[in-house]
Amino acid sequence: MNLSDQLLQYILSGLSTGAIYALIGLGFAIIYNSTGIINFAQGEFVMFGGMLGVYFFHKQGLALPIAFLLAVVVTALCGVLFERFAIRPLRRPTPMNMVIITIGGSIFLRGVAMIAWGKDTHVLPTFSGDEPISFAGATLLPQHLWIFAITILLIIGTKLFFSHTISGKAMSACAVNRRAAGLVGIDVRRMIMFSFILSSAIGAMAGIIIAPLTMTSYDVGVMLGLKGFCAAIIGGMSSGLPTVIGGLLLGVLESLGAGFSSGYKDAVAFVILLLILFFRPQGLFSRGSSERV
């Protein structure tokens, strides 16, 4: 086995992890753009997706596609409740308040999951078998293809939503100037609620598609949330391609880091995060601060 084969394996593994980071980062960005909040409970939505998937599949004995859909719907519902009861009641939100509230919310959600489903790790079956597929010396699982496919579909979906539907355009308008959006008759509150539905649903899907590979438990949301946040920062909090590239970049660098020396795997993500916050707080790809959506 030569070095280039190894390199390809690192990159493929990194891309599949990165795709998940990208989805989580997208969730961060969507909420940030319509509300100005960095929702630190985003990782918990991912965990909820995975755990609900496990619950509907194993405990209720439903078919995997149905369990998948139900988990996404219920998580989206949780997103709505979270927005309604934790975010909206705040009269004069300051960024500090918001951060504390979302962190509190994430601890609460984690606690709920722990009480409801216990502290064990759970696993879902892969969507279509686990015979490895060889690809030019590297190997992948069918589940990785699912991850890539669903990620690409979701990215195209959100892109179309934001540029081709009234609701999407209204959300973009809120992002540019909330007050002006309100003045031209856009229901800003509804748009905020929409953004929570959208990002919790995307988070849930991310949580379910990785559960067969990485397993899930009540506390997986913390690390995934931070990595997703990192992806969104690299992408300058854009709810489009830059965040996706940020996620993929992070995944690949992590994988290469682990291949080089595994102790530094997580450090890679956080060093990148710090460097970007220091030198390019607007993100790696954007020039000014005008383009956020």
């Binding site: 086995m1 030569n2 070095l3 084969d5 190894q6 394996q9 690192y10 593994s13 990194g14 599949s16 992890t17 502290k119 064990d120 790790t121 759970h122 696993v123 079956p125 686990d130 490895p132 060889s134 190997t139 992948l140 699982l141 990785i210 590979l213 990485t214 397993m215 438990s217 997986v220 690390m223 994988s255 290469l256 880091g257 682990a258 291949g259 595994s262 102790g263 795997k265 997580d266």
Partner: protein
């Protein structure tokens, strides 16, 4: 008339409470991380300890005195463990302490019990707990080194001498890595790859790719769930055909459930509890093991495991000490040190003044995972 009744009631109450005072329960303290990352250890330990104490009390206690178990949750936090140990000693005035669940917590608690002179029976595996021997500290979990020896013996038998090790970067993995390195040379084994992964890592393909590119003939992974399940899956994904060995940290059904098909063929050392029904009747531990597994199953609906067994052994060691006449902390310590030939869950314990761990490598059996179940190898 009314007065007489009142008086009689008064005396009756007095008498009853006097009787209650006479049989004041013997207090035993327990520190387990029932929550937090090591909850997979603490929860079965707490359950088992409570079950054993209830069983003892149901059959009339020890010499007519009931046991009372005071359990605190350390949440896997060494600082909390120290505070709670102090509380057990000073407020609850316990005779002995069992636990904590992890090596880190145990090392933090040791100075406290040594100073206050309270016997501690740890349920953690780290060799350094009882090496060097500390007067008041005992342990029931098998030393990691014994598990390593079991694996190396098997490797030697299969003529494998180049091995890759992949250990988790926490206390358990660090201790395992140390033991693997110490014992490798004496079995003629060279560790060609020595890599680690984080306890929360969800993808180990990078490390395994490196191992695939090396000249290793076998892989030893040292960790606790869920990491090793990910390793097993990644090994299968990468199409690595090398034999895969795991540590006793994953010797529970949960691992097979998590790793699924990828668990097939994995070999690991384990306490005998998971193969209790496959043991020959001549095995000295058979009665204890089968009894424990069945009563745990009846009470909690899942099979009793290896980890709960550490608490079973600890409580029963204390019970034996008290049965032998110990009534104070000092006497319990002396009796514990004299405990010999106690066939518990973890193995046959023989404590002495020089050995506070009390087990030999026979405490472990090597098992292979086959058809989603355990199969004893020797």
């Amino acid at each position: 008339m009314k007065r007489t009744v009142q008086l009689l009631t008064f005396f009756a109450v007095m008498l009853l409470s006097a009787a209650a005072f006479a049989a004041e329960p013997l207090k035993i303290g327990a520190l387990f991380s029932v929550t937090g990352p090591p909850s997979f250890l603490g929860e079965p330990e707490r359950n088992t300890a409570q079950m054993v104490v209830d069983e003892i009390n149901k059959s009339g206690g020890i010499k007519g005195r009931k046991l009372e178990l005071v359990t605190y949750d350390t949440a896997g936090d060494a600082t909390k463990a120290v505070q709670l140990a102090n509380k057990l000693i000073k407020d609850d005035n316990v005779l002995a302490i069992i636990g904590p669940s992890t090596t880190g917590e145990t090392m933090a608690v040791i100075p406290v019990v040594e100073k206050e002179k309270v016997p501690l029976i740890s349920c953690a595996a780290g060799s350094k707990i009882t090496d060097p021997v500390k007067a008041w500290v005992f342990k029931t979990a098998q030393n990691d080194g014994l598990a390593v020896i079991k694996i190396f013996e098997n490797l030697q038998k299969n003529k494998i001498n180049k091995v890759a090790i992949l250990t988790v970067s926490d206390g358990f993995g660090a201790s395992g890595r140390e033991q693997l390195k110490i014992h490798a040379a004496s079995y003629g084994i060279s560790l060609v790859v020595d890599d680690t992964y984080g306890p929360k890592d969800t993808d180990m393909t990078a490390q395994l790719t490196k191992i695939r590119g090396s000249e290793a003939q076998a892989i030893i992974c040292w960790g606790t769930n869920p990491g090793p399940a990910v390793v097993a899956k990644n090994v299968k994904q990468l199409g690595i055909k090398l034999p895969l060995y795991m540590s006793h940290g994953v010797s529970s059904k949960k691992f097979i459930e998590l790793a699924g098909d990828a668990a097939e063929g994995i070999i690991l050392p384990s306490g005998k509890v998971i193969v209790a029904d496959q043991l020959p009747a001549s095995d000295p531990q058979k009665a204890s093991l089968v009894g424990y597994v069945q009563s745990y199953q009846k009470l909690y609906g899942v099979e009793g495991d290896h980890f709960g067994g550490h608490a079973w052994d600890a409580i029963n060691l204390v019970r034996r000490a008290i049965e032998a006449g110990a009534t104070t902390r000092e006497m319990i310590r002396e009796q514990l040190e004299k405990s010999s030939n106690f066939a518990g869950i973890g193995g046959v314990f023989n404590f002495s003044a020089q050995d506070h761990a009390g087990l030999t490598k026979d405490a472990f059996v090597l098992v292979r995972i086959k058809g989603g179940d355990w199969q004893a190898l020797d």
